[in-house]
């Protein structure tokens, strides 16, 4: 077996490639730790993964299958030595439940049968065959690539995660302006945007992005997709006029275009000043991914979907608000931006709910709705302080990159863990998919884990073991009670709120209906590279109160229409609403509330919980950082990785100061130091070459809409 070739000694062994584990892997590898990162699945990112449509269908089947399978290979026992005892790990994933697929698209009534036939294997975005041919593979050869042997089942999996192949010069990483020509991914590049983003006209984003993508798609290193790239580009750029949509999208069509889908198991966005974005920038991992602005915030109110005005430009442009409402809303939001400075305004309400507080703020009913459900996004019972904090966070995230506080990674949220894996691999981490750890080897005396025995029966010693919660066996949990997340994934034929531009990424907040939880809906357009042109991919998420279908079907039926059966009257039915083509419901375990003390594990075994239902990824990031600090208390967490373009060699003037003369341009004026910085600042503004010295002094975030 090929995995025999694995080195037998590592500093850190990490099991599971979800976001938390991947961040830890990158952080450890970055500071020189020898990292072995494995996942029992044949794809990256665990429950954070993205699938093509066909991949998802196959994955659903396989997921159901694996529940029955149980292995009982006891070969590992002989690897144990005197004074050691095993701690067995779970080989089956039980974190998802109540999987339910409903196909609305015409073709057949028996969706299950129809579905399974054309599907090959449960590949995540990258089919193995394509992977091996990929020329981009050699771009950044991690040590793992040569050292790590292929796993027995599926050829080598140890190459850097696939995020790499989109690492083309056309990317927009979060550290750069949409259409800046330079590839500046340093921190000060970010600062550039912070000022520019505010000034960026709404329209231009819309125009620039798809174009850029088209470039990325067309010119990038031969995409993994086997379909002809040119055709794809043309199609994705098509505005897909209404007539085109009239043509019914069949399941066969979706299957045929299945590779255009990147369906996330967890649906999240990135707060543009949230911990994940900050980490992406700080660590320079951002360069492995591209992002798009979430272009609008919508909400469901009085039976209708409407746009939430949240930025200054939105409020100004809003057609639904009266001018007085505009003033009231702006006044309230301005107050929230630095509410700590005006304690007199809210101190009386600290013990009361945010909702009650809003009632006193002369806000009309729709404004109250917007603030509570779409801006603060807190439950109606939330305290005033919590509501104000959430509102402030939302507002502070506005304007950094665009008109909403959120970013979405192209190709789906599943990209993000892979980006961190790639960073890990670049710094020497070794990757094995379809490879797991059977048991930990505990030293009886110290109670510490000194080694692991992998699924190939190989013993690998390590100092630290990081594991995703789902791998822990029942017997090591002491009465742990999980929460659940209810999820629905829908494919629809048009946007919930059609607008001039078809290509919108929308966050739709649905307030609690009839006592249920608030549901967060993310609607993705095809230019987000998560669905085929002419369709929209819709994610619904809420904390569970029942099964996913019980929780979410009522919301789905309010927002979407089921196509009429048997072809009569099609299109007439509820023409106001988008039509459902396909739906998947499932529950995912939410282990984030569980305390470490709820597990009986050795002290050098660190647990990573799975995803939570929140919109951002802050929990995963703070957990990763805290695990890292326990592991390596003296090391910095994810210091910036040097970007080859950023390295300023001795004696060489930084780029961007012109053809070698720089600031002595007006030497007679006896310019002081200030003048020089000024000049740098100006060239920066024009997104010029990197100046790392500025980068380290990243100023504090400025409030949005500042002049």
């Amino acid at each position: 077996m090929a995995a025999d070739n694995l080195p037998t000694e590592f500093d850190v062994v990490i099991l599971g490639t979800g976001l938390t584990e991947s961040v830890i892997a990158a952080a450890c590898s970055r500071v020189g730790q020898r990292v072995l990162h494995v996942d029992r699945r044949n794809y990256y990112a665990g429950n954070w993964a993205s699938f093509t449509f066909n991949g998802l269908l196959a994955w659903i089947e396989e997921y159901k299958e694996q529940q029955k399978a149980a292995d009982s290979d006891e070969g590992w026992r002989e690897k144990l030595e005197e004074g050691e005892e095993p701690l067995l790990l779970n080989q089956i994933d039980t974190s998802l439940s109540n999987l339910q697929v409903i196909c609305y698209a015409s073709e057949e009534p028996e969706e299950e049968e129809e579905v399974t036939t054309p599907v090959a294997r449960p590949t995540p975005q990258i089919p193995d065959t394509a992977t091996e041919e990929r020329p981009g593979k050699s771009q950044a050869p991690p040590t793992g690539e040569t050292q790590a042997p292929p796993t027995q089942k599926n050829g080598t999996q140890s190459e850097p995660p696939p995020a790499e192949e989109r690492d083309t010069p056309n990317e927009a990483t979060p550290t750069e302006e949409k259409d800046t020509p330079s590839q500046d991914t340093t921190n000060e590049g970010t600062e550039t945007i912070e000022t520019q983003g505010e000034a960026q006209p709404e329209g231009s984003q819309e125009e620039v992005d798809p174009e850029q993508q088209a470039e990325g798609e067309g010119e990038g290193p031969q995409e993994e997709q086997t379909t002809p790239t040119e055709g794809d580009t043309a199609q994705s750029q098509e505005p897909s006029p209404a007539e085109a949509k009239k043509k019914k999208i069949t399941l066969a069509k979706i299957l045929k275009e299945g590779r255009r889908f990147n369906i996330d198991l967890v649906s999240k966005l990135l707060y543009s000043r949230g911990s994940l974005v900050n980490l992406l920038i700080k660590s320079n991992v951002s360069r492995y991914a591209e992002f798009k602005n979430v272009s609008r915030i919508l909400t469901y109110r009085n039976g209708k979907v409407e746009q939430v005005p949240c930025s200054r430009a939105d409020v100004f442009g809003s057609k639904q608000l009266t001018v007085v409402e505009k003033r009231m809303l702006m006044k309230f939001l301005t107050f929230c931006l630095d509410y700590e400075q005006h304690p007199e305004e809210y101190l009386d309400f600290t013990e009361r709910s945010f909702w009650e507080f809003l009632q006193t703020k002369k806000l009309t009913e729709n404004l109250q709705h917007f603030v509570l459900h779409s801006i603060a996004m807190v439950p109606p019972g939330a305290r005033t302080g919590e509501g104000l904090r959430a509102t402030q966070h939302f507002l502070r995230c506005l304007g950094r990159y665009g008109n909403t506080p959120f970013l979405f990674p192209l190709y789906g949220m599943g990209e993000i863990p892979q980006c961190f894996c790639r960073m890990c691999a670049v710094f020497g981490g070794i990757y094995c998919l379809r490879h797991s750890v059977q048991c930990l080897v505990l030293d009886k005396e110290s109670g510490r884990c000194k080694a692991v025995i992998d699924t190939c029966g190989q013993r690998i010693s390590c100092n630290h073991f990081v594991v995703e919660e789902g791998y822990i066996r029942e017997e090591h949990r002491r009465g742990v009670a999980y929460r659940q997340i209810s999820r629905a994934v829908l494919i629809t034929d048009r946007s919930l709120l059609p607008s001039e531009s078809e290509q919108q990424i929308s966050l739709v907040t649905v307030p609690p209906l009839q006592g249920g939880p608030a549901v967060q809906v993310i609607e993705l357009c095809s230019s987000s590279m998560t669905c085929m042109p002419g369709t929209f991919l819709v994610h619904l998420t809420c904390p569970s109160t029942g099964t996913a279908q019980e929780d979410l079907a009522p919301v789905v039926s309010r927002l979407f229409a089921e196509p009429a059966s048997d072809g009569e009257d099609q299109g007439e039915v509820d023409s106001e609403k988008p039509t459902l083509l396909w739906a998947l419901y499932y529950n995912m375990r939410d282990s984030t509330a569980v305390d470490r003390s709820g597990y009986s594990l050795p002290s050098n075994v660190y647990l990573c919980t799975g995803p939570d239902p929140a919109l951002g990824s802050d929990h995963a990031i703070s957990q990763a950082e805290s695990v890292f600090q326990q592991l390596l208390p003296d090391e910095e967490f994810c210091p910036p990785a040097p970007n080859p373009e950023d390295i300023v060699y001795d004696g060489e003037a930084p780029q961007g100061e012109g053809a070698g003369f720089g600031e002595p341009a007006q030497p007679e004026r006896g310019e002081g130091d200030g003048g020089e910085e000024e000049q740098k600042a100006e060239s920066e503004q024009d997104s010029e070459g990197p100046q790392t010295d500025v980068a380290e002094h990243n100023p504090t975030p400025a409030p949005p809409a500042e002049e």
Binding site: A313, V323, M328, A653, G656, G660, F661, P664, G674
Partner: protein
Amino acid sequence: MHGRVKLKSTAQQEEEKRKEREKKLKVYLAARDACFNKRKEGVMDDEALQLTQQLLSSNPDFATLWNYRREILLHQETVRSGDEVQKLYEEELSFLEGCLKVNPKSYGSWHHRGWVCSRIPQPDWARELGLCDRCLSLDDRNFHCWDYRRMVVKLSGVPVNQELQFTDRLIGSNFSNYSSWHYRSTLLPLLHPHSPEPPSPLRQPRPSRSPEPSSPQTHSHRVCEEQLLKEYELVQNAFFTDPNDQSAWFYYRWLLGRAEREEMISCVFVSREGERVVVAFSRPVNALAVGLVLVVDGQPLQVDWRSAHPRFGHSPVWICELPPGTISDTSNEHNLTVNWTEKHTHRDCALYTGRSESWCRDSATDQELFRSELSVEKTSVLQSELQSCTQLLELEPENKWCVLTIVLLMRALDPLGYEKETLAHFETLKEVDSMRSSYYSDLCSKFMIENTILKMEYAEVRVFSLSGKKLTTLCHLDQLLLVTHINLSSNQLQALPPQFAMLQCLEVLEADDNVIESLCGLYHLPRLEEVSLRNNQISRLSDLKPLTSCPKLTRLDLRGNPIIQIENIQSELAELLPTVTDLLL
């Protein structure tokens, strides 16, 4: 740049930087000298192009080098083929793009780019517009780029409506942008010109005026009403969203504003006594240069026009003395005409038998002179605008822009009816914006004077009383040409300005209880008899000197002024002002 953090560096870094700078300076100076030498020798070769390029890319504001570069390019045009010239200029544009990246606000680079675009055989305007868009998306207030863009638009003939959409887009993304609003104000009149017919009902009842469309307020730069209403809505959205943003308010003022008044002769006054003719114009002119001709009884007269005060080259009031005996006989009737040849306009005035004086004029009420700077749009429109602003004021009681706009709207609607509210608003303004309280005082004074003029004209009297109104300044004095009695007592005036000399009919002046120091406006007032200046700040004898030019002055009250402390003041004054018989000290 705004809000950028500057770095503090250590002494060592400082030193390194200094050395590096010195090194660069050396290279730079050498290149510069080489360039200058080449230019002196008249060399126009490729090397010179390269040298200047090198220098300019690091210092794009070196105007001499740009000039040299243009000389070289012009020369190259003559020696290269058409295609080569095209290529040369295209390279120049790419080079300039680099310069603009270094400094997007370089005058030199933008100007040179404009020049290149005027020389290049086949300009690519789309590329230029794209460049402007990029630049403006980085800094939407870069006026260099705005200027350049306007030039490109003009040369490439971008349709006006497309440009209006462009401003829509920029304003939509960030309305704190004077450039966009201003651009709009130049585009709208082109796209939606105001049609003078039918005249708005407000202006109809004016039989005394000539009905020709060139009435003072229907001049160009106006926008049709339908579009105006849309603009009001747009701009209201802006100032309700952020009432502290000035740009929207300024645009709003422009929307409400009216065109400049037509230049015309607004009044001709004739007096037998002194045989004088006084002409008032709607705006200051230089009568000596505009071809002003006085015709008396059909005979053009050679007269010397002088402005009301020697300090004015341009003045709204001009005076001339007729040759002695021309109109002195009260038994004769005379017809005078003042021709303004330059403007092809004139005004007649008949001096009847037995009358000592006569005039012909448009009154301020006729001209709606004081409808502030606001428009003559329908009252209903202004009324609804006033309502919106009042609504905003309820939400933002301390917003100065809002209060000021309300004041202006009230002026436009009914200056006298809203006088009380206006005064109250001015008090608010002085409070919330104390830095500009003097400005508000002056503005308030102006409005009070306007109101008093209106009242006076409605009453058809020549007495002007404005006591106790907290006036800080005097204005519209040209409108007081016919006033005989003026009472300015109990105000806060510091001076009687030179414009005061326009009160050519003034006989009695009361200005007690002010803080007047200067009387320079009491100059050549031929009829002035009584001057009361009790409790003012006149302290020197020389301050009273202007009074010597007023031949009829007989009564002067200076009680309560510092000047009375001067020794021998009585005799000094008697010597200075021999005509004064009634001197009160």
